[in-house]
């Protein structure tokens, strides 16, 4: 192929928007090309390419020893990954669906999270656990849980969740390269979200642990991550009509938590709403609200509010729209912030 033809092909590729699913797939592929110790394993990740097709083509390109269809057993998959990491490999495990990861919790909490600590730093485990999570795709029971609070409560794990196509690539690359275990939460309702991002063009690797301001504003800060980012961006757009100029912070990483970016934003705006679809009670929002209160109390014009999923088991798909926080619920919370400020 001539250089001109290659350039032309790249231009065509650039013109076509890519999905988050494609970005994740390319992150896996690029990691496997660069580092022979990267191995992908899980149920259906090989021949089928994963039920969401994230691992599509990897088994064909790298062979089934690098991209392995395992027996159907999550504790076994993650437990085997521990042993593989002990021997110097860099396993990337797929858990297929959020609630399917629960059988692997003991491996995750007792071993994956603690091995570095148990061995006084002698044996770190560079394992990435990919967990498609959250609702909004019409999945039936056990296919829509938001389990991030369980992972956040476990020292030794990084907990990362991208909300954009670029971050899906950049954060997954960083997670696989990390010498610490990372629970990589993939917002499955954003798998088919698109961006002008070429799977062929160079892409940035994003360091873990930095939140980003997606939209600057002055009236209040919406703090969110993963599947709720598009909701917050839409709410911020709609709020303009009410005369509210909302700032939107995308956390990207729940552990480590970027206190600096969050506190700096809230100090600027004086008001904050935490938005996520996980349950509110005992959920991430409580921790985030407490951290904001501890750091920004004298800057706050109103209590930090939470807009979360209801404290119910994830509902059947025909009812999930009532559970998931939408634009109206976010705007309602913002309105309450204003009311608190007026009194």
């Amino acid at each position: 192929m001539t250089t001109a033809a290659a350039t032309a092909r790249e231009r065509t590729a650039k013109a076509k928007p890519a999905t988050m699913a494609q970005a994740l797939g390319r992150a896996l592929r690029d990691s496997m090309v660069e580092d022979p110790s990267v191995h992908v394993l899980g149920e259906d990740v090989g021949t089928l390419g994963g039920v969401f097709r994230i691992t599509d083509g990897l088994a064909k390109e790298f062979g089934d020893e690098r991209c392995t269809d395992t027996p159907l057993a999550e504790a076994g998959i993650l437990g085997a990954a521990v042993g593989m990491a002990m021997y110097g490999l860099r396993p990337v495990v797929e858990m297929q669906f959020d609630a399917f990861a629960y059988p692997a919790f003991e491996q995750l909490i007792s071993h994956v999270a603690k091995m570095r600590n148990r061995t006084g730093g002698a044996m770190p485990l560079p394992i990435t656990v990919r967990v498609p999570y959250g609702g909004g795709i019409g999945g039936v029971e056990h296919h829509s849980d938001s389990s991030e609070a369980y992972y956040m409560a476990t020292p030794g794990l990084h907990v990362v969740t991208p909300a954009t196509v670029e971050d899906a690539y950049g954060l997954l690359r960083a997670s696989i390269a990390s010498d610490d275990p990372v629970v990589f939460l993939e917002p499955k309702r954003l798998y088919w979200s698109k961006a002008d991002w070429s799977p062929q063009a160079p892409a940035a690797v994003e360091p873990i642990g930095r939140a980003v301001v997606r939209r600057p504003g002055r009236s209040a800060t919406l703090i969110t991550y993963g599947p709720s980012l598009p909701v917050c961006m839409e709410a911020a757009q709609a709020a303009v009509e009410e005369g509210w100029d909302l700032e939107v912070v995308d956390l990207r990483s729940l552990v480590p938590f970027d206190d600096e970016t969050v506190a700096a934003s809230v100090r600027r705006t004086g008001r904050a709403v935490v938005v996520h679809e996980s349950t509110g009670f005992g959920g991430p929002g409580g921790e985030i609200a407490a951290r904001i209160t501890e750091r920004c109390f004298h800057h706050l014009e109103a209590p930090v509010l939470r807009v979360a999923g209801f404290d119910i088991p994830y509902p059947p798909p025909m009812q999930e729209r009532h559970h998931l926080p939408g634009v109206d619920r976010v705007l309602d919370a913002v309105a309450r912030l204003q009311w608190e400020a007026d009194n």
Partner: protein, 390 residues
């Protein structure tokens, strides 16, 4: 009941299912009905006298190690000790059959196996003393951390052996678990993965009769724990766990099989835990003296000693030599364990992540202030506060 045929309609005739036959002939995978023995049988004629003598000295040392560690719990030097007294043949054989490049995956009761493999006895005891979770570098000794959750180390052994094979290394992993652990899901998943992947792993189940207080009959309805292997497609071997020569032979064969690409083996060692589950347990609540006494007659140290003396391979001098060596080891262990470990509380934050998070740095700074304040007021602490948290 008859099938009523509608007039004019073709009768439904079920077609036979496509031919199916078992993927593997189960017969060669089945364990023998009786535990395999060497001592006191014709098979002992083939045993290497050098090996038997080596096993004997290790058993004597191992027994002394168990009694010394138990004594250290009474002196408050160990927080807890799950004794392997009565099971020394399993522990020693598991260590001796491995090459240096192989890996051992012990459970919490298998400190002795780690020591028999060459690990410093004090480093092996840090978990049970309570100063460090793991007092050694697992990669340096190729001994995984002593595992407290049941059977969760078994999938690790499978993954490590699988990874070694992928890298082209002829490394074998030997994983130890108790009879209670075979009821756990991780036991099942590990065996299944190992068999499907043909991973070079040996699973050693020490069936010592009880999972704390629950006897085997309430643990499983399987004919034997070794029979469980058949369902996974790997051979199961049943062996007398108090017969060091039989243990060594069966495990050696399983290791050789794994190393040559033959896949995993499940070995059930039938043995008995002479002591309670740990020093904190009262075994008289769930078993009688007569049962314990019956097993005492089949003590692993005693039956090997009888075999060796009976064949003229071991005399009073040899017995005394082994006893003195064991006593020296115990004296050294006692002396070293009587020294207080030096702990740096700041290490609490050192190994949570590769790089400390901002949150951990803040918490470490807070502890630093508290420690500095303690330094300024040493008289507030009692003289016997050894900093072990007990």
């Amino acid at each position: 009941m008859t099938v009523q045929e509608l007039p004019g309609a073709a009768a439904y005739r079920p077609t036979p299912p496509p031919a199916w036959k078992p993927l593997t002939d189960p017969a060669p995978l089945l364990p023998d009905p009786e535990p395999y023995r060497v001592l006191g049988t014709d098979a002992v004629a083939d045993a290497d006298p050098e090996l038997l003598l080596r096993l004997y000295s290790e058993l004597v040392r191992g027994r002394r190690y168990n009694t010394q560690a138990t004594a250290l719990t009474k002196q408050g030097r160990l927080a807890v000790y799950p004794s392997s007294t009565g099971q020394e043949a399993c522990e020693v054989a598991a260590a001796l059959v491995l090459e240096e490049r192989d890996w051992l995956f012990p459970s919490y009761r298998d400190t002795l196996a780690a020591v028999a493999r060459g690990l410093d006895p004090v480093e092996a005891l840090t978990l049970l003393r309570g100063d460090r979770h793991t007092g050694y570098d697992p990669r340096e000794h190729r001994i995984a951390p002593l595992c407290t959750p049941l059977a969760t180390q078994l999938p690790h052994a499978v993954g490590l052996a699988h990874a070694a094979r992928l890298k082209g290394d002829d490394v074998v992993a030997l994983a130890m678990v108790g009879d209670g652990g075979t009821s756990e899901g991780d036991f099942h998943e590990a065996l299944n993965f190992a068999a499907v992947w043909r991973a070079p792993v040996v699973f050693l189940v020490q069936n010592n009769g009880f999972a704390i207080s629950v006897p085997l009959a309430k643990q499983t309805a399987a004919p034997s724990l070794a029979h469980k292997a058949v369902g996974y497609g790997m051979p199961g071997r049943l062996v007398d766990g108090n017969d060091a020569a039989a243990m060594h032979q069966v495990l050696s064969e399983a290791v050789a099989r794994a190393r040559s690409g033959g896949g995993p083996t499940l070995v059930e060692a039938v043995t008995y835990r002479m002591d309670a589950h740990t020093n904190a347990d009262d075994a008289t609540r769930y078993r009688g003296d007569s049962e314990v006494e019956a097993w005492r007659a089949h003590d692993p140290v005693r039956i090997l000693e009888r075999e060796l003396t009976g064949r003229g391979l071991l005399g009073d001098d040899g017995i005394e030599e082994a006893r003195v060596a064991a006593e020296q080891m115990a004296a050294q262990l006692r002396e070293r364990m009587n020294a207080d470990p030096v702990l740096d509380p700041m290490d609490l934050f050192a190994h949570v992540y590769a790089e400390q998070t901002t949150q951990l740095r803040e918490q470490a700074a807070r502890l630093r202030v508290e420690l500095d304040a303690e330094q300024d007021q040493p008289e507030q602490h009692s003289a016997d506060d050894r900093g072990t948290g007990r």
